[in-house]
């Protein structure tokens, strides 16, 4: 097991305006589970492939376990990768798929067999060892892909959206299995996903990327509580945080008719501020910002209310989302008040930076 670090790593595809990965500086500690998350095209897969050696590094360096691997072939980097589409060798059995890398490394046959059996036991694949990939279900294929990575006992595990081809229920089950497996093996893992729920539940730390640039890398809780900028604030958490761009007047901002105080150090230096409040941080009751409910989403344990803010008794077009409890959900068209929890209000500068 080893650490992985990106040092000013950049990758620009020829003919594109901006780099796919732009000056990435990131370190994954030995034994850590790091998730790279972001919307499509943010460069997370590219960054992963740079570690694998499948993507050239235009500038900067990649280190595995302290060793500079930037110019080293994938086959000499001692990494193992789980691909989004599993990339199982269709003409080989499960056992052969898992043992292929070991065979190339000229490991003795008995040892290969032992390792493959170990991994199979770990992943419940024993009954399938002699089957070909086409005879397996999606979930089983995914496990074979994991098994193929595990048997190599590599320094680093790389996973490229391994769950995205599974159905929702299987995804949740497998998510937990992968996290448990990683803890058990103590393996340094870099995991790529576009699903922020996966990121939040699985990662020791989560790195949010956008347009090739690292936005924030922190444990999930820190991302949730203290997002470094507007993008991270809006990306983490579902439904997304409400973000209002409001002018500052008298050291406060007005949400509809409700006034929210702005800390002095912010209001002294700016005319405008972006206010962020998560839907779950509103108290639905008689006091606060008034909203008219357009859509009620009853999810069983929670209810989400989508509507628009009311100002001076008329509905303006500012949308707002709030979470209500499962008891007595409000009806469509009804009006209610949302009081933001005072210490859960986020302030961002107009350029997106976090202020408070």
């Amino acid at each position: 097991m080893a650490s992985v670090s990106f040092e000013h790593a950049t990758r620009r595809y020829p003919g594109t305006a901006r780099p796919a990965v732009d000056d990435l500086d990131l370190t994954v500690d030995d034994g850590e589970f790091l998730v790279l998350v972001g919307p499509s095209g943010c460069g997370k897969s590219t960054a992963l492939r740079m570690v694998a050696g499948l993507e050239t590094v235009d500038s900067g360096r990649i280190r595995i376990g302290g060793r500079d691997v930037t110019d080293i072939d994938p086959k000499d980097r001692d990494t193992a990768m789980v691909f989004q589409n599993y990339a199982l060798y269709p003409h080989m059995t499960v056992a052969q798929n898992m043992g292929f890398a070991l065979k190339i490394a000229k490991m003795p046959r008995a040892q290969i067999r032992a390792r493959v059996l170990d991994a199979a036991r770990l992943l419940d694949l024993q009954p399938y060892l002699d089957r070909k990939p086409k005879d397996l279900s999606g979930g089983q294929r995914q496990r074979v892909a994991m098994g193929r990575a595990i048997v190599r006992h590599p320094q680093v595990f790389l996973m490229d959206e391994p769950l995205s081809n599974l159905d929702a229920k299987l995804r949740v089950e497998t998510r937990n299995e992968i996290a448990a497996l990683q803890r058990r093996l103590g393996a340094t893992t870099v995991y790529v996903t576009h699903d922020q729920v996966e990121a939040m539940t699985m990662g020791d730390r989560v790195a949010v990327l956008r347009d090739g640039v690292l936005q924030q890398c922190a444990p999930p809780r820190a991302l949730y509580r203290d997002p470094a900028n507007v993008f991270v604030a809006g990306f983490i958490g579902s439904p997304a945080m409400n973000l209002f761009t409001l002018p500052i007047r008298d050291h406060s901002v007005a949400l509809g008719d409700w006034v929210v105080a702005v800390p002095r150090d912010i209001s002294d230096n700016a005319a405008e501020v972006i206010v962020g409040i998560r839907p779950e941080h509103f108290d639905v009751g008689g006091v606060g910002v008034e909203m008219e409910v357009d859509v009620v989403e009853e999810l069983g344990a929670d209810t989400y209310l989508y509507g628009r803010i009311i100002k001076s008794d008329s509905v303006i077009s500012q949308p707002v989302v709030a979470r209500a409890g499962w008891r007595d959900p409000p009806a469509r068209g009804s009006r209610l008040h949302l009081r933001p929890e005072p210490d859960r209000v986020h302030f961002f500068a107009p350029d997106g930076r976090r202020l408070r």
């Binding site: 500079d68 930037t70 110019d71 080293i72």
Partner: protein
């Protein structure tokens, strides 16, 4: 930049150079006979073995000699006529049948198709003699009629292609009240351009290059094909290389033209059907 990076770049350049060198060798192997033929056709008879690619005084007169020694234009016309007729016939009948096998439900359709496939696999050697006798019985030997009989192999290609077209087109047309012929002619056919192109090119090339059938069928010079003409020339003027090479180049040119024009369709056709000429 570390020394490691320099080495990586150097290895990549060497590798690329080696690949290009190999590709050039292969390309040369593919082309050299024709280049040699071209150069041979421009030489004088005495100096034919000179290893120069382009002789000092190109003898274009050799090409003129070809026209004097064999009825080239007539044979070209014949060959084009035969190729054209067979191509049109094959495209029309095989696309019709291909559509029927793919989309029209009639009893025994799939069994018939299997029978058709099985018969295709019968080698030429078995059928050529009876076909000759058949032609003789019809009185068609040594006439153009024997040469314009359309082939059959296109049906397989067209059927496979029709199977890939979406069914909504036809369903809409049928609901609108089109007869099966109208569905075929107005709706399906316009969508089959790629497959038809492939079939047309393959058929054309096959007929153009065919040798055994004309050899067996034709004795008269005035309805002979170019391949036949070349072999007759070869028989008469053995070892008169410049003339033979000039004739060869002249026969190659139209085909190379067709190939250049239809190259992508041609290659796709070969992979899809698996036929490449004998």
């Amino acid at each position: 930049m570390s020394g490691l990076t320099e080495r990586v770049i150097k290895v990549n350049v060497v590798r690329a150079a080696a690949l290009y060198a190999a590709l050039i060798v292969v390309a040369w192997c593919a082309l050299f006979p024709m280049l040699w033929a071209l150069s041979g056709s421009l030489k004088k008879e005495a100096g034919v073995s000179e290893p120069t690619l382009l002789p000092a005084h190109p003898q274009w007169s050799n090409y003129g000699l070809v026209f004097a020694l064999m009825p080239f234009w007539r044979m070209l016309l014949n060959t084009m006529l035969y190729a054209g007729c067979v191509t049109v016939g094959q495209v029309f009948f095989c696309s019709l049948a291909g559509y029927a096998f793919a989309r029209l439900p009639f009893r025994g359709r799939d069994t018939l198709f299997l029978l058709y496939l099985a018969t295709l696999m019968v080698p030429l050697t078995v059928t050529v003699i009876p076909q000759f006798i058949l032609m003789r019985t019809f009185g068609w030997t040594d006439t153009p009629w024997a040469m314009i009989i359309p082939g059959l192999f296109g049906t397989y290609l067209m059927r496979q292609f029709f199977l890939t077209l979406p069914t909504d087109l036809e369903e809409a047309a049928i609901l609108d009240g089109c007869s099966p012929w109208q569905v075929y002619w107005r709706i399906m056919l316009p969508h089959t351009k790629p497959a038809v192109m492939v079939l047309a090119v393959l058929t054309w090339v096959n007929v153009w290059n065919d040798f055994l059938w004309p050899l067996v069928m034709i004795q008269r010079k005035d309805i002979a094909t170019l391949t036949l003409g070349l072999v007759w020339l070869q028989g008469q003027y053995v070892s008169r290389w410049p003339v033979l090479m000039a004739a060869s180049i002249l026969i190659l040119l139209p085909l190379l033209g067709v190939y250049a024009f239809a190259q992508r369709a041609f290659l796709r056709g070969i992979t899809v059907t698996g036929f490449g000429g004998r």
